[in-house]
Amino acid sequence: MELINTMRQWQPQRAKLWAGALVDAVFEYEVALRGDSVRIGFIDEFTEFLAWGKTDTGRKWKQWSAEMRMLAD
């Protein structure tokens, strides 16, 4: 609920982008479990994010994000 209130404080029309931020947080969580949270640079991180999106976890979260974006529209 706190996050939703914050989204309303900022820009309601940008709420759907927060769904993407949460997906990023899940990705960062999995990277951190490997101990690589700061080690990998932006380009490598982006490449890994694309690969992660094809894993089971990545696919589920992307689907969740798409559904939440539809709710926010």
């Binding site: 609920m1 706190e2 996050l3 939703i4 209130n5 914050t6 989204m7 309303r8 404080q9 900022w10 820009q11 309601p12 029309q13 940008r14 709420a15 982008l17 927060w18 769904a19 931020a21 949460l22 990023d24 947080a25 899940v26 990705f27 960062e28 969580y29 990277v31 951190a32 479990l33 949270s37 700061v38 080690r39 640079g41 969740w64 559904e67 939440m68 709710l71 926010a72 529209d73």
Partner: protein, 232 residues
């Protein structure tokens, strides 16, 4: 007389026995290799004692220096060329330098990192500390970042500014790695991802927009387009 001699012999025997026994009891203590004892006395010293002790009194100089420097994170950062207030950049010379330093961070550094983070009046200037906290932050770091997310409006300038928005987005990113060590972060992310909240948010936004539109022109009929795209 014989009786006295017998008692005397028994008494001498008893004394001899006790003396031998005591020697037997104490000998193993003397047989302990003194080296480990010396090592223990060198290694197990309370940090407070080490910080106050003269290196000549027993604490090794390198250990003393190490503990002193660990207690001063700000100085360690400066010695590594770190600069605060660099906005969305890490503040280190390059990624390799940042990674090298971040590897030295531990839970004991969390408080000092948070103190330095709270000194920053710009949201984007906090990003560099968020990155470091992903390596060592726990519940305290999670709570500070969550509080940051919850108290944006009117504090860090216009929320529509992209660098602020990116920094706020980065707060959520940082909570991801921190959630590996913090239940507070995990709970926040779990609640934030709850579909029911998103449905509720949709209703709240709709009600908010409906009220705003009706307030502007109460006699005008409300159209679906007004609710879905009030600013278009």
């Amino acid at each position: 007389m014989k009786h006295k001699i017998l008692v005397g012999i028994l008494a001498c025997g008893l004394i001899l026995f006790l003396y031998t026994g005591v020697q037997t009891d104490t000998e193993p203590k003397h047989l302990v290799d003194p080296q480990p004892v010396l090592q223990r006395s060198d290694s197990i010293v309370a940090p407070s004692q080490l910080l106050e002790a003269d290196p000549a009194s027993g604490a090794s100089n390198s250990t003393l220096t190490h503990l002193k420097t660990r207690a001063r994170l700000k100085e360690r950062l400066v010695s590594e060329g770190f600069r605060s207030g660099t906005g969305l950049r890490s503040g280190f010379e390059n990624d390799a330098e940042e990674w090298k330093f971040v590897q030295t961070l531990g839970p004991a550094d969390e408080d000092e990192l948070l103190a330095m983070l709270l000194e920053q009046n710009s949201l984007s200037n906090r990003v560099q500390f968020h990155r470091m906290l992903t390596q060592c932050g726990g519940d305290k770091a999670a709570q500070v970042i969550i509080d940051t997310i919850k108290s944006q409006t009117g504090r860090f300038g216009n929320p529509a500014e992209d660098h602020n928005y990116y920094a706020l987005h980065g707060c959520l990113n940082a909570l991801g790695p921190i959630s590996t060590r913090s239940e507070i972060a995990r709970r926040f992310l779990r609640e934030a991802a709850d579909e029911e909240y998103w449905k509720l948010n949709r209703q709240n936004i709709s009600n908010h927009m409906r009220t705003a539109i009706l307030h502007q022109n109460p006699s005008r009929p409300l159209r679906a387009a007004d609710i879905l795209r009030p600013w278009s």
